[in-house]
Every structure is written in structure tokens, then in C-alpha cells.
């Protein structure tokens, strides 16, 4: 490794693997290392099952859990929006060819101690049990406006008098359609996927775009707007690492990182064991630079192994349930996600549910109780409380570009925004998708 590279990437979490792929594709000479023996860091899917039990200090799982190699358990629960940024990145980089996805079967929202299907178009809204008849009509009118909305077409703004996407707040739009609190609640949290209510007093254009992303994603595959990769989310970093390797990136796992070497305030290399690899830039996750990040919050996540689906979801083999903050007197939403043996992440007949939220109190596990209560009997539960770190600076000074910890959102939109921002700060350019498409096309014979 005593060589000179343009960039050294530390950690093989999803963000670092995407960045590594983009840098290699752009012609940079990349060395990508991880202190672990496996790919994925925090975004790995743990296999076999005994490794998960060991990680949490438990004895090996009993035989009822089936073949332990059939399990691939995510540590961070997320789904892909079918029309979202990550799918765009996957398609344009050709990484989709290494992956297979299934559409998540249902998307539900919690209201008054029970769960209901999230209506996302006019037809579903009219049959929804979330609203009374008059409210349904008002909601339908609102959805028509949201679906027709175009940022750059004032003609599509007319339905709301005086509307413009920047100066009109979302609460003004809700008021125009006379929507009640419950409808606003599930629109903001289950369709626009906000975690708190700050959006209400911000420009309406952003919220309307998020509602459109939800309904456009839903339109792609039908049952829900979400996709999930077979064998677990840990396949995603591996796919992007392969992209990086195909474009010349060098991979080394199981490499202890001893020091990031700086001269005159700028990075010049990375020392591992007795060797130092030279480089002009370092890209890494917060765990490699504990003194260059600050803690900005915590996320609590419970991984629950079940031998049954969740009640009232029509026995869905995969689903998402959002518990809006107000329903349970909180400031941030609770997310429940469920995947199963049909995604090759569990042994036959088994399900994996994840309950997560942003921590607000000194007793994080108690905060996710409303989500846990929806699951029914849980065979085994693993609870983690993870700090959320942000970099202290944007990296342009010392050329060390640090990603943010994975947040509590249920999908990858913020993950992609962070990646694109890091790429822009590191290279001074927006990522040029056309570079990959052309070259990869030649591979198909």
C-alpha cells in the first residue's frame, strides 16, 4: 500500500461506497479501506445469525431460528423510494445489475390506537378509513393540487389563490383546503415523510415535492412507494464497492487505521500498520475521526425477530408503519419496518421488524413502546442507542471529507443528499452521471 493515491476512503458504509464509486468513475485513483473484515460498517446486514447474537452479548440462537446462514439482519432500517435519489444513482451507475429488489407490500399510518393504509391517490383517499366523508372530499382536492403541482409552472399554482412555492407556507395550503389536524398529520408524516412539524411554517414547494415523490414512487410498482433489496441493505454498499473496483479502485478490508497524516493543515496520507499510503484527500465516516465530529443527537433502534406478520396488515410479508409524533405525544415520529424470509434476510417463516425513532428522553427504549406494541409476541429483541455525529467543518480546508451518521429517516433521501454534497465539496463539481452510462453500455454483448 506504499503507493500514492488521489483519494483514500475509510469505512465501507453505504455513503463511503457510493462516494468511492463516484470518485473511481470520475477517473480518480482510489484506495478504499475498512478496519472490519466485512463490507458495510454500520450499513452491513449481519450474517450468520449467531454473529448478531454475539454482537449483543447473547448465547448462540436456538434451533428454532432455522439455518443461521439464511439470516441477513440490517442494523439500520431503511427502504428505497422507488422514484428517489438512490434508485436514480443505482440505475445511472449500473449498480442495479448486481441487485434484485422487491416492492414493499404495504404502507400504514397509526391513528387513534390502530393502523390504516396510507392513501396516496384520489381513489385510495375515497375508500380510506382515516377520514370522514366530507374530509375525504377536501383531501381529494388537496391531492389533486399536490399531484399537478410543478415548481416552475405558475399555471399549476392557481387552485390556491396567491400561491407561490417559496413564500406560501404549507400551513396556509392546508388551511385553504380546510384539512383537519389528523389529515394534516398523516399528510406531513406519512406522505411527505417529515419527522417533526417544522415544515408547516416553511415554504410549501418542498412539501409538495415530497408528496409528489411519494405518489410517483407509488405509481411505479403499485403496492407501496418502497423497494427493498434481496439479501438485505448490506448488498447496497457491496454493489457500489464493486462499481469502484471495476473502475480501478483498490480494496483492503481488515486494515487497522492508525493515523490520518496531515502536513500544514492538509491531509497527506493514511498510516496503517507500518505503512503509509499517500493521498491528496480522505473521505470517511465519523468513526474514523472521533475528534473531528460532534454529537447532535441519538437514534434508538430495536431489531425484533418474529415468527408471524404484523396484525391488521393483511399478513403483509413486508410493510412500513409510521406513528406520527402527535398520535403518541412526541416531537418526532416512530417508524416500524418489517421484512421477511421472502427477502432472503431470514430463515423460512421468520420476520424481522425494526422500530426506531429520534431519542427525546433518558429512557429511549420506553419511547419506542408504541411501535413495539404493534408487533405482537417478539421472539428476540436487540436494542441499540446510536449517537448521530456531524462533521465540525466542511472538509475543504484540510481535505478530510466526513459523512454524517445515518439518521432516523425511513428511506435513503437524506443519505443521497449527504453523498452528493460531499462529492461536490471534495471535487468542486456535481457528479456527472453521463460518464458511467456510456462505458457500462459496452459491457453488454
Amino acid at each position: 500500500m506504499d503507493e500514492e493515491y488521489d483519494c483514500i476512503v475509510l469505512g465501507t458504509g453505504l455513503k463511503e461506497c457510493i462516494i468511492s464509486g463516484m470518485l473511481s468513475v470520475s477517473g480518480k485513483k482510489v484506495l478504499h479501506m475498512d478496519r472490519n473484515k466485512y463490507y458495510g460498517g454500520e450499513s452491513a446486514s449481519i450474517t450468520p445469525l449467531e454473529d448478531l447474537f454475539t454482537k449483543f452479548g447473547l448465547p448462540s440462537p436456538e434451533e428454532t431460528y432455522g439455518r443461521t446462514r439464511d439470516w441477513n439482519v440490517d442494523l439500520i432500517p431503511k427502504f428505497l423510494m422507488a422514484n428517489g435519489q438512490l434508485v436514480k444513482l443505482l440505475i445511472h451507475t449500473g449498480v442495479t445489475r448486481y441487485l434484485e429488489f422487491k416492492s414493499v407490500e404495504g404502507s400504514y399510518v397509526y391513528k387513534g390506537n390502530k393502523i390504516s393504509k396510507v392513501p396516496a391517490d384520489e381513489k385510495e383517499a375515497l375508500t380510506s378509513d382515516l377520514m370522514g366523508m366530507f374530509e375525504k372530499r377536501r383531501f381529494k382536492n388537496f391531492l389533486v393540487f399536490a399531484q399537478d403541482f410543478k415548481d416552475d409552472d405558475p399555471g399549476s399554482w392557481k387552485a390556491v389563490p396567491g400561491f407561490d412555492p417559496v413564500n406560501t407556507t404549507m400551513s396556509t395550503v392546508f388551511a385553504h383546503y380546510n384539512l383537519d389536524k389528523n389529515t394534516i398529520d398523516f399528510t406531513g408524516h406519512a406522505l411527505a415523510l417529515y419527522r417533526d412539524d417544522d415544515y408547516l411554517n416553511k415554504p410549501a414547494g418542498d412539501t409538495l415535492k415530497r408528496i409528489k415523490l411519494y405518489s410517483d414512487s407509488l405509481a411505479r410498482y403499485g403496492k407501496s412507494p418502497y423497494l427493498y433489496p434481496l439479501y438485505g441493505l448490506g448488498e447496497l454498499p457491496q454493489g457500489f464497492a464493486r462499481l469502484s473496483a471495476i473502475y480501478g479502485g483498490t480494496y483492503m478490508l481488515d486494515k487497522p487505521i492508525d493515523e490520518i497524516v496531515l502536513e500544514d493543515g492538509k491531509v497527506t496520507g493514511v498510516r496503517s500498520g507500518g505503512e503509509t499510503a499517500k493521498c491528496k484527500q480522505v473521505y470517511c465516516d465519523p468513526s474514523y475521526v472521533p475528534d473531528r465530529v460532534q454529537k447532535v443527537g441519538q437514534v434508538v433502534r430495536a431489531i425484533c425477530l418474529l415468527d408471524h406478520p404484523i396484525s391488521n396488515t393483511k399478513d403483509a410479508l413486508s410493510t412500513q408503519i409510521i406513528i406520527p409524533q402527535k398520535q403518541v405525544n412526541r416531537n418526532s415520529d416512530i417508524y416500524v419496518s418489517l421484512v421477511s424470509y421472502t427477502h432472503q434476510v431470514a430463515a423460512k417463516g421468520w420476520f424481522i421488524a425494526m422500530v426506531s425513532t429520534t431519542v427525546e428522553t433518558d429512557n429511549p427504549e420506553a419511547e419506542i413502546a408504541p411501535g413495539l406494541n404493534l408487533l405482537g409476541p417478539v421472539k428476540q429483541k436487540f436494542v441499540t442507542v446510536s449517537p448521530i455525529y456531524k462533521p465540525l467543518d466542511d472538509g475543504t480546508g484540510n481535505q478530510i471529507f466526513i459523512s454524517e451518521s445515518y439518521d432516523a429517516t425511513s428511506h435513503f433521501e437524506t443519505t443521497c443528499l449527504d453523498v452528493l454534497s460531499i462529492y461536490r465539496r471534495g471535487t468542486g463539481d456535481d457528479f456527472d452521471f453521463s460518464k458511467v452510462k456510456h462505458n457500462l453500455g459496452d459491457e453488454d454483448m
Partner: protein
């Protein structure tokens, strides 16, 4: 569901079914993994083939009597160099070619390690072929044919010595694999992945 790859080569009568299989290549760096694929897929050979960059996913079809076997061939993209091959690589592979260089005893030892790794990690029904490559360099031979053949028999592997340079046994080894692969509907990838969504590269959003 989008079809992967592009080639369409009709089999003789047009009545036969098409089965698609994932085939992975394994072996020490510089034993000729990419060269074997290049010879098989494009009929080419480059004396100074660079370390694999840029193309690590090729497709080629082999026609048997009533079946067209389409290989989706995965090259390591160099990730084997520092023992950093991702589990994704083996995942769902129905066939593997483990390559060594007959002029280098170490690469044969390494090939045996890869076979063990496949028996541990890959699906139990995987068809494994052992290829002793660079057979054109027989005057520098360090691995005896009989030694490799005995090892292959003990481990139920297909075995051939090959030369990507002269094309010796290259098509034959792929054909032998194609014949040994189970062609029932349950096993063919294209048949059981019905509900699964794959994307075409460059699909517009």
C-alpha cells in the same frame, strides 16, 4: 421485469427454452481469469492484459440440444487481491470456474482454498470447474496434470487444462459446465425470479 444483458441467439429450432445462470470466476491474481472470459466471450487474447478494469460483467450463450444456456459471467474486478471479495460475488452463483496457473504451484494451492470457500459460502448445488490455465506454457509446468485431476475427482469438480492464448479447451470448459447445470424450471434464474424487480442500465427515470 427487465431482461439482463443484451444478446439474443436463437437456438436451432427456436423451440428450446433459455436458462440463465450466474457464473463466477475465482483464482489468484494474474492466473488468467479475465483472459479466459475474453477468449470465451469475444474470441480475443491480449498478451499483456491489464489488471481487470472497466468490464466485469459479461454475458455469453451456449447452445445445447434443446436448451440455450445464457451465462452471466462475473469477474472479480481485482477485489480478490487483498482478500476483499464481497459475499455478493458468490451470492446466487450456480457455477464457478476456479482458475490456477500450471506454471505456478502457489496458485494451485490458492485454488484449493477458493474451492473450500465456495463449498462453505456458495449454494450447495453449485457446479464448480477447475481450470489449469496457461497450458501453452507446458515447458514451465509446475503443477502436474494428474495431481490436479486427482484433486478434482476427490472434490467432484469438472477439470480441464486450458489456454486462453491458444483457445485450448476454453469453449469446452464452459460447455461442460452448461451440460452439468440443472435445467429444470425451478433452477433457472429467469424462471424463479418472477416477482423480482431488476433495472436496465440507462433506464430513464
Amino acid at each position: 421485469m427487465a431482461q439482463r444483458g443484451g444478446a439474443q441467439r436463437p437456438s436451432g429450432g427456436g423451440q428450446g427454452k433459455i436458462c440463465q445462470f450466474k457464473l463466477v470466476l475465482l483464482g489468484e491474481s494474474a492466473v488468467g481469469k479475465s483472459s479466459l472470459v475474453l477468449r470465451f466471450v469475444k474470441g480475443q487474447f491480449h498478451e499483456y492484459q491489464e489488471s481487470t478494469i472497466g468490464a466485469a460483467f459479461l454475458t455469453q450463450t451456449v447452445c445445447l440440444d434443446d436448451t440455450t444456456v445464457k451465462f452471466e459471467i462475473w469477474d472479480t474486478a481485482g477485489q480478490e487481491r487483498y482478500h476483499s471479495l464481497a459475499p455478493m460475488y458468490y451470492r446466487g452463483a450456480q457455477a464457478a470456474i476456479v482458475v490456477y496457473d500450471i506454471t505456478n504451484q502457489d496458485t494451485f494451492g490458492r485454488a484449493k482454498t477458493w474451492v473450500k470457500e465456495l463449498q462453505r459460502q456458495a449454494s450447495p448445488n453449485i457446479v464448480i470447474a477447475l481450470a489449469g490455465n496457461k497450458a501453452d506454457l507446458a515447458n514451465k509446468r509446475m503443477v502436474e496434470y494428474e495431481e490436479a485431476q486427482t484433486y478434482a475427482e476427490e472434490n467432484s469438480l469438472l477439470f480441464m487444462e486450458t489456454s486462453a492464448k491458444t483457445a485450448m479447451n476454453v469453449n469446452d470448459i464452459f460447455l461442460a459446465i452448461a451440460k452439468k447445470l440443472p435445467k429444470s424450471d425451478n433452477n433457472a434464474r429467469s424462471c424463479w425470479m418472477l416477482q423480482v424487480i431488476t433495472f436496465k442500465t440507462g433506464e430513464t427515470m
